[in-house]
């Protein structure tokens, strides 16, 4: 969810999660999980019961094994470029941003914060939940960098279409900014939610 909060807004205290040294620099070149490297190319590719390739099998998505062999590395590079958008003057929470992306890659089901954190670090997911709920960092900075990268990429110079649309995020109450009983944008449903207008 987008945030209007200032980049240096004070964060509520939560269990400290120290940025791992190997993540703090730029010299980490391979994904690893509890010391065990797991390249995408060796993901199990067995067929499911209905005959379809398994969720992580590249053929299921029309991709070759080579096409996804460096997916994890690309994800890491993506995070390294954008991690500065998730820091404040007093705290670096950018590792949570990486964890939220990284954890979803190998998970078939139960992509909730507790399961994601347990899979990656053996945690209970509270810190990750806090990070996602409070969005420490700057949304405008992410967009500014994204726009700069698009402008600088020759391959995207022609043929680009932007879709002006909304995205609704269901809410349990109206305590968050923008939360209100309003149109969810799908089939005329009205419910308590926050709505972003966006250009995906």
């Amino acid at each position: 969810m987008l945030s209007d909060c200032a980049a240096d807004a004070p964060m509520a205290p939560y269990p400290e999660w120290i940025l791992e040294e190997r993540l703090a620099g730029t010299g980490w070149h391979r994904l690893s999980e509890h010391g065990q490297e797991r390249p995408a190319s060796v993901e199990p590719a067995e067929a499911s019961a209905c005959g379809e390739p398994a969720l992580h099998a590249p053929p299921r998505w029309g991709l070759s094994a080579e096409a996804v062999a460096h997916l994890g590395d690309h994800l890491l590079q993506f995070w390294l470029r954008f991690r500065g958008c998730f820091t404040t003057r007093t705290r670096d929470t950018s590792a949570h941003a990486y964890a939220s992306l990284r954890a979803q890659l190998p998970m078939d089901t139960a992509r909730n914060f507790a399961h994601m954190d347990r899979t990656l670090h053996g945690g209970d997911g509270q810190a990750l939940q806090h990070f996602m709920s409070n969005s420490p960092g700057s949304g405008p900075a992410v967009f500014e960098q994204m726009q700069g990268e698009m402008t600088a990429t020759p391959a995207w110079a022609h043929g680009s279409t932007l879709i002006l649309d909304e995205r609704a995020d269901a809410q349990a109450g109206t305590h968050k900014a923008g939360a209100s009983r309003q149109d969810k944008g799908r089939r005329g449903q009205v419910d308590v939610c926050r709505v972003d207008t966006c250009l995906p």
Partner: protein
């Protein structure tokens, strides 16, 4: 996503929610804007940044508004917009 903005319903700009706006870090200068106004501002912003933009596509929420369509044309932005079946174009 290359740009986005949180839509704040009109009720959020009432005096009753002034303190909560402040507590949540909503900028004091933020004013009530429709989704169409937010969308047009974003399109102008990304265009000004030089983001490659051959076409903007949108659904009937936006396409039905003749002022938005005119504003996109004035910005020299090509668009493909859904409109209700009974719209005069």
């Amino acid at each position: 996503m290359v740009d986005g903005a949180l839509f704040l319903p009109e009720e959020w700009f009432g005096a009753a929610l002034a303190q909560r706006r402040s507590e949540l870090g909503i900028p004091a200068e933020r004013r009530c804007e429709t989704k169409l106004q937010l969308g047009l501002k974003m399109i102008k912003r990304v265009k000004a940044q030089g983001v490659p933009l051959d076409l903007v596509a949108c659904d009937a929420l936006y396409g039905r508004d003749s002022q938005l369509r005119a504003a996109l044309a004035a910005e020299d932005v090509q668009y493909a917009a859904q409109v209700p079946a009974d719209t005069w174009v």
